[in-house]
């Protein structure tokens, strides 16, 4: 409002400050344009410096510069590719970036639970992650989804080892034995490597959006080459207790499946 008064004196109808009720009306109208029923009230403190908002801010900056230059899809593809690479050296696989250029919406999800487990029957270490996909706005279809977890260079006794890191979808849980799992993605990583690891979980995300009751989370497992599983912390993977900027998160890309129609008031 201050800016208007300084630079736009010709606009008599915006020269004055908005009254409280006018301000509320404007807020309501802008929320309506953004397709939001109410003003969000995020709960966590210091959230702006967390890994997911930082990653999303990089995407935002890339999209904004692309809109400014208006040079089309080819440049956009390069921009996104650059982000994926700089975010994750040297571990990220370079994805087909078409879905990134086509995305109408990108959404990151915070990890709701992370449990270290050691199951005595099979002497198997694994970690569980859960994401709530029920908050996705209506009319959006998932085109791609990734689980991202940061790996520090390992200084442990596994320093010269190679790890096989595997991610599974939990299909069914039991109280007396291991859960039924579905293999989603896996990578071979040297212990000395560091950076973001990216796993493709597109099919699972689509399944969870349609059937939220089947969302029992993900399991991540680290094996050394002799087949033994090890604690993920020993492998240098950063979990909930690590720095905010290296917390694991999930990111999904969406294409609008229908035109957003504003309701008549």
């Amino acid at each position: 409002e201050g800016n208007f008064a300084d630079h736009h004196v010709h606009s008599s109808f915006i020269y004055r400050r908005l009254r409280n009720h006018e301000r509320r009306e404007i807020q309501r109208e802008i929320l309506s344009i953004l397709g939001l029923p109410h003003r969000p009230r995020p709960f966590s403190v210091g959230k702006h410096s967390s890994s997911a908002p930082l990653f999303m801010l990089d995407l935002y900056n890339a999209m904004s510069s692309e809109q400014e230059t208006e040079r089309g899809a080819a440049r956009g593809s390069l921009t996104y590719r650059a982000i994926l690479t700089t975010q994750s050296p040297p571990l990220a696989s370079l994805h087909d970036t078409n879905f990134l250029n086509d995305a109408d919406m990108v959404m990151s999800f915070v990890n709701l639970v992370e449990r270290d487990k050691y199951f005595s029957h099979q002497r198997r270490h694994y970690k569980e992650f859960r994401f709530d996909l029920t908050q996705i706005p209506e009319g959006e279809a998932v085109t791609a989804a990734e689980f991202r977890i940061y790996k520090d260079r390992s200084n442990s006794r596994y320093e010269n080892d190679t790890f096989r890191i595997t991610i599974y979808q939990v299909l069914k849980e039991y109280s007396n034995r291991d859960a039924d799992l579905f293999l989603l993605d896996g990578k071979k990583i040297r212990a000395s490597d560091g950076g973001w690891l990216v796993f493709d979980i597109t099919a699972t995300s689509n399944h969870w959006v349609v059937n939220p009751q089947h969302n029992l989370g993900l399991q991540l497992c680290v094996e050394i080459m002799d087949g033994r599983t090890i604690n993920i912390r020993s492998a240098g993977l950063i979990g909930r207790h690590g720095p905010q900027s290296k917390q694991p998160f999930m990111v999904a890309f969406f294409k609008a499946s229908e035109v957003l129609l504003r309701s008549v008031r």
Partner: protein, 139 residues
């Protein structure tokens, strides 16, 4: 008919505006006495001023722009006048009390991206089309 109306209108206007418009060429009809011609004006919508900086991460606001000004004959002085605007101007000149002048409104609109938290502290990056006026014209 339109020409004669226009001449009449100009004659009336010039008599009350100290003949300033009489010296003007067709593109300079916008004298100090008359309303400014249809054009783009800047208007910054500040999310910070709306008290939303806790949930909107970026941008801090956006230059939305708006279109304002008069759509008067000759319309070719304006950017992107539609055929309807030309027709409506002619009809307005014939029936000034019944038919208004064409509207000064956006002809091209740009998208913006907004990055924000939802109630669960998930982060949403969404592209909103038709948010920023790129150019104005007469409709």
């Amino acid at each position: 008919a339109a020409n004669s109306k226009r001449k009449n209108q100009n004659r009336n206007k010039s008599s009350s505006s100290q003949d300033s418009s009489r010296l003007s060429g067709p593109g300079d009809y916008n004298s100090s006495e008359q309303k400014q011609a249809c054009k783009k004006h800047e208007l910054y919508v500040s999310f910070r001023d709306l008290g939303w900086q806790d949930w909107i991460i970026a941008p801090e606001g956006y230059a939305a722009f708006y279109c304002d000004g008069e759509c008067s004959f000759p319309l070719n002085a304006h950017m992107n006048a539609t055929n309807h605007a030309i027709v409506q101007t002619l009809v307005h000149l014939m029936f000034p009390d019944n038919v208004p002048k064409p509207c000064c409104a956006p002809t091209k609109l740009n998208a913006i991206s907004v990055l924000y938290f939802d109630d669960s502290s998930n982060v949403i990056l969404k592209k909103y089309r038709n948010m920023v006026v790129r150019s104005c014209g007469c409709h």
